[in-house]
Amino acid sequence: MKMIYTSFDDAVSDINDGSTIMVGGFGLVGIPENLILALVDSEVKHLTVISNNCGVDDWGLGLLLKNKQIDKMIGSYVGENKEFERQVLSGELEVELTPQGTLAERIRAGGSGIPAFYTPAGVGTPIAESGEIREFDNREYLLQTALKADFSLVRAAVGDQDGNLVYNKTAQNFNPMMAAAGKVTIAEVEQLVETGTIDPNHVHTPGIYVQRLIEGKQEKRIERLTIRDEA
């Protein structure tokens, strides 16, 4: 019932200039590596990208940035590279910073038919300056609206032919909410299995949220290798 692709280029071929896309991952963990590479190849421009971070210089969303394919970035922690800073200061790149929990909840709201909600995060800070504050039980909260995307690019450890997804460890992160908030959700999976293989109790993203699937091999680059010595 789902579109199963074998070419990453084909899987993203209808992502057009000016599209709003969500891209899963936290740092470089759980990012749809090959879908991002295909976007770089596609040369699509003027993207609005919603993602917690913006990759590093030479990997992940950093590649789209270097290629000047992003007009606007919505995230919670960005600018881990010089090119990001340069583009922001020169006005080539617009940035909207959102507290991480607010970002996660805005995306969840987008997929859940909740147009807006209130959160304590950001009250009394610069991000509330143009916002709407309201009291509930004598405490102040900030109104936040839902985020949706034309396309969501997510990565899972396992996907079946019906689009059910299972994530591995902290590679889950933003992927489930983004899968639900995209008009078209494209899942890059490490392993594509037959329907019926995944225990229905273990599904993280029900297949209804996924329109396209493609299997691929990831590099899984490590940003900050921290190890302990054998005792």
């Binding site: 600018g79 909840e105 921290t226």
Partner: protein, 225 residues
């Protein structure tokens, strides 16, 4: 040890070791990126602590052995970690539901400035590149107790505990306790109370290097760390 001879690493360790005492056995704790993460290294044997990582892990374990490294398993600082027995993984939405819903007992975070009313600034310096607030703005409203660890003064020797923060805020009236290289100060209804003074410092020196007027706790202790 005389204060002048302490290098930066030693001072950080001193603060981290004192911050560790805030952690009650059986509690759920979020440690911020940077110096707060170091606190995990000093958790006393026998203390049962579950560390939460806002990227979707409850039960952070030790750093992995080289052979244990899993690129899919990191903490919020993007460092490779392991998971404790009894750990669970979940989405960032669930993670911040947990944080915002006040299920964590304690968060230990870094600070740039703290005000007399418990305002915290720790995410941006105007004029410098703004990288973002990450999860800090959510965490300061979530955990039941917010402890800020930082140097008592900035590199120019000026107070970082102020009547009013100069930097843009991370949260308003959110800090419960401040732990610095010089002192432990609580934020209460009507101001700041000095409750501990670190080894090598006097009450007077702490008062001098703190902008707001400090009340002195009746139970004040000196040289505790």
């Amino acid at each position: 040890m005389a204060k002048k001879q302490m290098d930066k690493a030693t001072i950080r360790e001193r603060i981290a070791r004192r911050a560790e005492k805030e952690i009650v056995s059986g509690s759920y704790v979020n440690l911020g990126i940077g110096m707060p993460t170091m606190v995990a290294n000093y958790i006393q044997d026998g203390k049962q602590v579950v560390l939460q990582s806002e990227n979707g892990l409850l039960g952070i374990g030790k750093s992995p052995l080289k052979k244990e490294v899993d690129p899919d398993l990191i903490n919020a600082g993007k460092e490779t970690v392991t998971a404790q027995k009894g750990a669970s993984y979940f989405s960032n939405a669930e993670s911040f539901a947990m944080i915002r819903g006040e299920h964590l007992d304690l968060a230990i975070l870094g600070g740039m400035e703290v005000s007399v009313t418990g305002d915290l600034a720790n995410w941006m310096i105007p004029g410098k590149m703004i990288k973002g607030m990450g999860g800090a703005m959510d965490i300061v409203h979530g955990a039941k107790k917010i402890v800020i660890i930082m140097d008592h003064v900035n590199k120019h020797g000026e107070p970082k505990i102020l009547n009013k923060c100069n930097l843009p805020l991370t949260g308003k009236s959110v800090v419960n306790r401040i732990i610095t290289d010089r002192a432990v100060i609580d934020v209460v209804e009507d101001g700041l109370i000095l409750i501990e003074v670190a080894e090598g410092w006097t009450i007077d020196e702490v008062i001098q290097s703190t902008e707001p007027k400090l009340k002195i706790s009746e139970d004040i202790r000196t040289g505790t760390y």
